[in-house]
Amino acid sequence: MPTPPAAALFLYVARCLLGALSGCLTVAVPLFLLASRSFAQSPPPAPSFTHDILPLLTRYDCNSGGCHGKLAGQNGFRLSLRGYAPEADFESLTRESRGRRVNPAAPESSLLVAKANGSVAHAGGRRILPGSAGERLLLDWIRAGMPGPDSAEAALERLQISPRSAVLQPSEQVRITVTAHYADGRQRDVTWLARYASGDASLLDVDSSGLVQALRHGEHVVRVTFQDQVEVATFTMPRNETLSPELFAVASQPIDQHVFGRLKALGIPPSPAADDATFLRRSMLDAIGTLPTPAEQRAFLADQSPDKRARLIDSLLQRPEFFDYWALQLGDLLQNRVERDHDVRGRKGVRGFHQWIRQQLVAGRSWRQLATDVLLASGSTSENPAVGYYIVTIGEKAAEESDIADSVAQAFLGTRIGCARCHNHPLERYTQDDYYHFTAFFTRLALQRRSPDEGETSLHVATRHVLNLRQQLSEQQAKLQQTPAPAADEQTRVQQRISELEKEIERNQQAAVTVRQPRTGTMLPPRHLDRSTAAISPGEDPRVQLTHWMTDPGNRAFSGAMVNRLWKHFLGTGLVEPVDDLRATNPPSNTPLWDYLNDQFVQSDFDLRHLMRLIMNSETYQRASATLPDNRYDQRFHSHAQARRLPAEVLLDAISAATGEPEPFAGYPLGIRAIQVPDPGLDSYFLTLFGRSERVTACACERSGDVTLPQLLHLQNSDSLTARIRAPEGRLQRLLTTSATDTDIITELFQAVLCRLPREDERAAVQAQLAAAATEERAAVFQDLFWVLLNSREFAFQH
């Protein structure tokens, strides 16, 4: 059992370890690759603790999350995860265990060496072969008297990898070489010490020596890590078939040109265009979360004008449902929900924030304006409903101990920095210092939490200490107002106290903004994630500088985070996946397209609808979902539309619309749609079953598109669906009581559920059932048809 300090800290540290589990199972590779071309000019100096020993321990997984790098260590020997804390590691190697881990008198008998090479029993097995360069490095370091971390050493500045990109055929191999460049101009080959990871193990295999093997057609990256530097090499495995140039003849828009660029390079043919009925359904579901009615379908199909798709798109972006649906999307992103515990805002506050978001959309405010307002929110929830964002993300903690920095980075910058809270980010350059520098922007925030019956909770641009002082100040001021007035000497004392408090408050407010880095104890000022400094004037809200930096047109993280979310929303797969994990080591699948969309978004001053219009008008968006034999495995390059299950709210609304029977929601008037419900805490078996977001974190992964067994049981057999199919006021019953012909009813049911006309074979299949059934069975046959349509994949999926 680990015996951690405070449970909360332990929880968080243990959480962070997850990101780093690479296990300690890598097999040691032959080390004949160790041509040490380094140190060319001077005689080899003693190995450096920081530049040699830690990378060596990292390379052989000694300090991985599964071994000594986990919080509790392993068998009493603990190292920092992948060497983020050199001083502590030095201490535990050289001082702990009564110095038995290293023995300068007999270096070979040092436990560090003997355990690693297997000459002494080691639960982790033999990590470093006897006689290998790795062992020699350890021995040389011990012989040299175990020099510790030395701040005078020239820092690692960058890695140079070769090749940076290559075209391979499946089963072809290539070796990556890695050169480290230091601040003093020194270079050396660190291929054998670097670590390698495949971006997609089904496409590319890479071993611990940097040998890459292509496995199948496609494209992905191999990530190279050495100390705190990361680089990626891109490998493309095109299909060999020569595709007819006619396939790529028409690319009317930049989006399509860029998509074709990738498809051509990879040898993937695009699917043809979707028909009008499919396009109408698809664009309505994506833009406004709503099925087209039979009347809308008829009108759209009858329209002969060549620009009808573009006009439809324009009209969708103005419809009230557009604002409903995008308030829902942004509600997920901004985590608008009732707090799990000790909620201070109540459903009223959640509704208020929801309303506020929707109003911003109606007013046509840009993502930059909306984001800035949320980020700079202060005051009470009734004055400024956007304060709700801070109530949920800061909660009951002090701002610098809360999830606010993680949440802001992930929601607004598509950047996951949470790992760096406890150790250096395993996949990115972010260090623990970077994390706390960023957190410092939020240290001048304090929530005055009040339970709803005591008044309103409010957010103040001040520290908790200052809030406390202000409280004391108002108590003192109240004393002066008392009747009868206090005695003169008491008044003087109070006046003096007031003046002290005012000075103290002023001093605190003017003080430099810093946050304590808990591992090193250093006080760190606010600094942006790209390490540019923030000049914060005394007394200024640090968030002002932060939002300037975030929304700067040059900040691709801010524009890219939204570009990627919108692209994924409409196309099913982000240009970067996971959608909110943008980083240098996770490059977009189509860089020219990425640049184009980002430029467009920035040039339109972050106009969400401009971007949506561009995407929806592209041929890429309007492609059929049917696959071709040669593009069926493509899920990244948009050769065909990607079929995916409808989101919970949209599917539930679709059932209501198709059956003509609205879903009742407790506490809301009948007829309110699921996409309009502001609060994810609303009790709904259906919405929970189909994976609505609970909005607990900023992660897009909270919304689930999974297909599960109880979902299918529910669609097939739930009392509520059965009742809706047969409802007296429902669509089918209304049709049956009119003089509608069988053909009319079949047509309308197909249009209401699948949003298209029945094919001839489908109509015939239904007619055959009607013919076979007795007259009094007519209603039952249509109920069965209705059930079949509602249980089809074509209904449950966007396609």
């Binding site: 997609d200 297909v707 057999n717």
Partner: protein, 437 residues
């Protein structure tokens, strides 16, 4: 009986193509699974369990008042109840558990449960998964991992929670990053008068002619999967559509959940309580091939008026659990079903001012039986006041490791998060060897 399988249809052949990527294994994950390291054989023998029943005492059973009596301790520690003898010579448990006292020779009592967390949700996720904390929310529960490893061998879902998952401010026992496919199937409360599983039994049965009509029309209409290949979600929809239809129509699933098919006398023996009938249903389900059943029996969080609370709950537990153990034993089910009973922690030694006991991570009592566990013994020991474990402490990871080994699942095997990160099922922990001799 309706089979949603059309042997000759194009969809069938699509299914075969798609089956590689069905049920959560993307092609990438398949390839990675193939290279999964450390294939450990272990000495399975009679320790091998076909199924596990986890009786979860959410809120935290007071060990002082149940299985770890401290009659010598001060009054504010030892509490109200007296110890009584059991069929196991030298073993005493609380007088509130007279029926269990008569079958302690079938179970192994472990008094060494210990960890350092006093928070319901955190500790529950810890004991239900064997892992502590996660940036993605919770860890997948053991049952979900077991389902992930077993797949879907029969008509019944592989992981069932009766009546539902444990839940405090949020729901525990979930499949977390493994995805919805491995979520527990919630059975509902089998003690309800007209118990039926949600969406399983039709409100009114559908005549065969209508079943066939639906099947025939669905085959004509639902053709999207023919046009779109290699789509994991579409394939999953298709698979679960057939599976759900089988569950609804085959009778096998309805029979498994048909608790009223049990003799009245036996139902009474388990107790006509949610817990008693949940135990009985758990037995029915493992008999029919369900691999992991959670019987969730919460409400042990007795911060105040603990005697009133325990006097409501302990008799239900006593009756239900002793009936489960005896019935399973008589049917030979203990040969290869492991039963574990535990909560997320024990409770404080000292009775508080509200006559309650608070959360206490460092000591708790656990019960194990079946699947090779040597019965009639006591392992682990707490100190004089039941505050700290002084002999053979076992942590959540050890219990989880024991369960995984029993099911033949390598606890060091890597799972993959949706973004491809390898995560070992357990990061630490050892099987509790002492259970087996």
């Amino acid at each position: 009986m309706l089979k949603f399988q059309l042997a000759q249809s194009p969809r069938r052949s699509f299914l075969q193509i798609g089956s590689l990527s069905t049920f959560g294994l993307s092609q990438a994950a398949m390839l990675r699974a193939a290279e999964s390291p450390r294939q450990e054989s272990g000495n399975a023998g009679n320790r091998r369990a076909k199924a596990v029943i986890l009786v979860y005492l959410g809120g935290g059973l007071s060990h002082h008042d149940s299985f770890d009596m401290k009659p010598e301790a001060a009054a504010e520690v030892r509490g109200k109840y007296l110890p009584i003898d059991t069929v196991v010579p030298g073993l005493q448990i609380s007088e509130m558990l007279p029926m269990l006292a008569q079958c302690m020779n079938k179970v192994c009592l472990h008094r060494g449960g210990a960890h350092n967390n006093d928070h319901h949700e955190t500790a529950t996720n810890w004991v239900m998964s064997g892992r502590f904390g996660s940036p993605f929310g919770d860890w997948p529960a053991i049952g979900a991992v077991a389902a992930h490893e077993s797949g879907f061998p029969g008509t019944l879902p592989p992981y069932v929670a009766i009546p539902r998952n444990p839940s405090f401010t949020w729901e525990l026992g979930k499949s977390a990053f493994l995805g919805g496919r491995y979520e527990s199937f919630r059975a509902g409360d089998p003690n309800e008068a007209s118990y039926r599983v949600r969406d399983l039994a039709p409100a009114e049965p559908l005549p065969d002619v209508r079943v066939q009509r639906r099947q025939s029309m669905l085959a004509a209409v639902d053709t999207l999967g023919r046009a779109i290949e290699a789509n994991d979600q579409l394939a999953a929809f298709d698979q679960f559509q057939q599976r759900a239809a089988r569950m609804v129509l085959s009778g096998e699933a309805r029979d498994a959940f048909a608790i009223d098919a049990e003799k009245t006398e036996l139902r009474d023996r388990y107790g006509r309580t949610t817990f008693g009938q949940s135990c009985l249903l758990a037995r029915r389900l493992v008999e029919r091939g369900v691999g992991f059943v959670t019987v969730n029996f919460g409400g042990w969080d007795h911060h105040a008026k603990i005697w009133e609370g325990l006097e409501k709950k302990l008799p239900d537990f006593d009756r239900g659990f002793s009936a489960l153990v005896t019935d399973m034993d008589q049917r030979g089910l203990l040969q290869d079903v492991l039963v574990v009973a535990m909560g997320e922690f024990g409770r404080t030694p000292k009775i508080n001012k509200d006559v309650g006991r608070d959360h206490w991570g460092p000591a708790a009592s656990l019960l194990f039986c079946g699947a090779g566990v040597v019965p009639g013994r006591v392992l682990g020991q707490t100190d004089r006041d039941g505050a700290q474990v002084v002999d053979s402490p076992v942590g959540p990871a050890d219990v989880a490791c024991t369960i995984y080994r029993s099911l033949g699942i390598d606890p060091h095997k890597h799972l993959y998060t949706p973004d491809g990160r390898p995560v070992p099922i357990l990061q630490e922990g050892n099987p509790i060897e002492a259970l087996y001799g």
